[in-house]
């Protein structure tokens, strides 16, 4: 159980390794899905996609300040329904950035495999 119980834990939030027994399948919605499988691309186990990554909200928040109640509600609705999608996230990750570590970019055959993996989870999502 996490926190005060207000957060619903579902099968996407947890990976359980039991002491003995058969293997467990991991949900592709778990934030560690890629990091657990590609330690040489993500040596620090950086988080993958999860459903609650919102877009950079700076513009929306600035507008909010001067809105009446109805517009504010609308804006809130807009924000809630504009989280980063899985395809957007993995697309973002694949691009080169000077600020990023180089492992994912230089991963060679492992990178190929990772891209196939990305594609597979995005098309079934």
């Amino acid at each position: 159980m996490v926190g005060d119980g207000s957060k619903v834990i579902n099968r996407h939030d947890v990976v359980v390794a039991q002491q003995t027994g058969p293997f467990q399948r991991i949900s592709d919605l778990h934030v560690g899905y890629m990091a657990l499988h590609y330690p040489l691309l993500f040596p620090y186990s950086e988080d993958g996609w999860h459903p609650n990554i919102s877009f950079n909200g700076v513009v929306l928040q600035d507008v909010d300040a001067d809105l009446d109640e109805d517009h504010a509600k609308e804006s809130e609705h807009h924000r809630k329904h504009h989280n980063v999608t899985m395809a957007e996230f993995y697309g973002y990750r694949l691009q080169h950035r000077d600020t990023d570590g180089i492992a994912l970019l230089r991963g060679n055959r492992l990178r190929q495999q990772y891209i196939v993996d990305d594609y597979a989870i995005v098309i079934i999502a």
Partner: protein
């Protein structure tokens, strides 16, 4: 704002960018090194016909693809694999992995394994599980849950 990926640890960066023989060889075998260091294994039908031979490497699968995690302890008579290797005691660990992959360069492999022990948060969790099993005895039914924050 999405967080950027942390700077690649130096030992790995050298292996990925250096033009020396051992580094170039590592680059060719990175998918094999990764599969030994990974916590999960791949469930998928990999199309072997296209990966063999001298053609450029290509990773093709058919049907479903998923990741799976094994139990913390390996079954009797079987070799520990994947995350089970991080649970296993350290001395036999290097030996275990060399047995798994005799093609590996031992120096390169030890460097990567040390890197994992130094920086990887999942390795720390599996080590904690190992310590708990050692103190509580193997009869305890221990589960390791990796909960998304």
């Amino acid at each position: 704002m999405l967080l950027s990926l942390l700077a690649t640890p130096q030992e790995l960066e050298v292996l990925l960018t250096n033009k020396e023989k051992s580094a170039v060889k590592f680059s060719d075998q990175i998918h094999m090194y990764n599969s030994v260091l990974a916590f999960t294994s791949l469930g998928a039908k990999v199309d072997e016909s296209i990966t063999r031979g001298t053609r450029p490497y290509s990773f093709r699968i058919q049907g479903e693809l998923y990741h799976k995690i094994r139990s913390l302890c390996h079954a009797k008579g079987q070799r520990p694999q994947f995350a089970q290797l991080y649970i296993h005691d350290i001395e036999s660990e290097h030996q275990n992995r060399h047995v798994v992959m005799p093609l590996f360069d031992p120096t390169t492999f030890d460097q990567l394994l040390n890197m994992m022990y130094n920086i990887n948060p999942y390795v720390k969790m599996f080590k904690m599980a190992r310590d708990m099993m050692a103190t509580k005895g193997a009869s305890t039914d221990l589960k390791l849950g990796l909960i998304a924050s």
